[in-house]
Symmetry: C2
Subunit: 320 residues, 2 copies
Amino acid sequence: MRVIIIGGGGMLGQKLARALGRRGEIGGRPITHLALADIVDPAPVEGPFAVTAHRLDITDRAAVDGLLAEGAEIVYHLAAIVSGQAEAEFDLGMEINLAGSINVFEAARAMGTCPKLVFTSSIAVYGGEIPEPIEDWTALNPQTSYGAQKAAAEMLLTDYSRKGFLDGRGLRLPTISIRPGQPNKAASDSMSPIFREPLQGREAICPVGPDYPHWYLSPRRCIENLIIAAEVPAEALGQNRCFALPGRTHLIGDMVEAMRRVAGDAPVSLIRWEPDRSIQNIVLGWKARFNPAKALALGFVRDDSFEDNIRFFLEDDIER
Amino acid sequence: MRVIIIGGGGMLGQKLARALGRRGEIGGRPITHLALADIVDPAPVEGPFAVTAHRLDITDRAAVDGLLAEGAEIVYHLAAIVSGQAEAEFDLGMEINLAGSINVFEAARAMGTCPKLVFTSSIAVYGGEIPEPIEDWTALNPQTSYGAQKAAAEMLLTDYSRKGFLDGRGLRLPTISIRPGQPNKAASDSMSPIFREPLQGREAICPVGPDYPHWYLSPRRCIENLIIAAEVPAEALGQNRCFALPGRTHLIGDMVEAMRRVAGDAPVSLIRWEPDRSIQNIVLGWKARFNPAKALALGFVRDDSFEDNIRFFLEDDIER
């Protein structure tokens, strides 16, 4: 079985590729070839199958067609301009997050084999005047351009699936925490440094108060969910191919105490609490209370505690 | 004040143009110029202002830019490929209903004056596994390509408004009943002939049973709502520029009895009840129970009874 990861050079794409390399299979079927594609050459990964790396601009329809024409049972579409950048560069966000996604959907359709297409959406599709907790039938009401572009792509993913052009599975990711590596322009990344930096001996600034609620998922469980997404039978997905992934809601203060329980007092002492009104204005608009009943019924997973997130970071991601 | 109606040659566009001709103003401001644009030359209307007719293909971005560059305080975007055709010709629906709508939004943005943009969406954005009655915060879950394309455009209309590119107002129209004139390829038009044809002395086939529930709005009240949509202050619209218009739910059998009360027994006797499973499969998927609280609070209107719809048809639309 052939697998393509578009956005295969990003944090999730690389983790997914390495996980597939360790597993060697999805849904009990061995992987024979993994193609990683991204705007810059993705790093290759090790696995019991052939791995190829491709430089791909998803705004180039012919290039996307060319990559997918090589065939695949599963296409992951993880490529996006993140929220902060999509807000600052509106046209670029429209071009990559919406037109680029349509290029991927069209290329999958052109394959003629109805491939599974796993698409990462985001809780940024929620916002504004909607009741909480957010249920599976709660309106998408994005208050960022990133969220609006993801929401528009979601509508099309479900329709392309209904038409039999592809077999779509759209996952609304919680904030991924603790995100490893360097900060990026995702506004949601404003939380990860609070844990990531102190756990590596560096100071961090917390821009929100300890009572700020946060809906999160660890990178490890996110990758497990990306694999589950390709394994769930199509007939179980119902009439909407897109849904919120499970996560947990915790207050930042409780998450800091979880870090203390796992890693001791030293990291906690490196946090400087400096409320920043401009960041608060953004993140306090995010929804933090969800009832992801559909995803749980389908077998998607979440962390058991924030202590787990701390441990996963120390096991998977700490820079030694 | 200048007004542009894209889709100005269609049933609603022509009725709106004539209504504006009778009023001469919107929101107390006199109209100085009305531009009607459509894929075929729209019929001109009479009014106390200049009227121009334009042939416009909204898939031609430069042509849309050219029309809007002439300036307007209010742009109506009513142009669409209807539901039946968008289902049969998927690519055409994507091109006109989605890419064409983006062209209109981009052209409005390029005006640089943040014009009011009234966009007609549809209850086709609802469907599938969502609870009824449908509230303002109920998820869009379209089960037709037409609905998916409208829903995607809605997400963008709200975002373009949030960014200050335009001042959008998106109305989810109920089934328009009684739709005058010739049948079109809108699946929702399968109900109008049941009243339209007998009221004009012709036989009609009713493909559903008398207990089929139906969410409808008369053309007359729909036009009133299109005008209200351009008059509502932007700050009253909140964080989602798109919402369901008011309507009424009646059973087909009750609507037929309303026709009998207004027009006597003769029209009713011209209805042949011939249930059609393929039509039922489509229309029974439509949602018929709504709570359009936001639209009602904003002052949008609905019919008082189906008797009114019959009377409006006899006053406004019957072919004599």
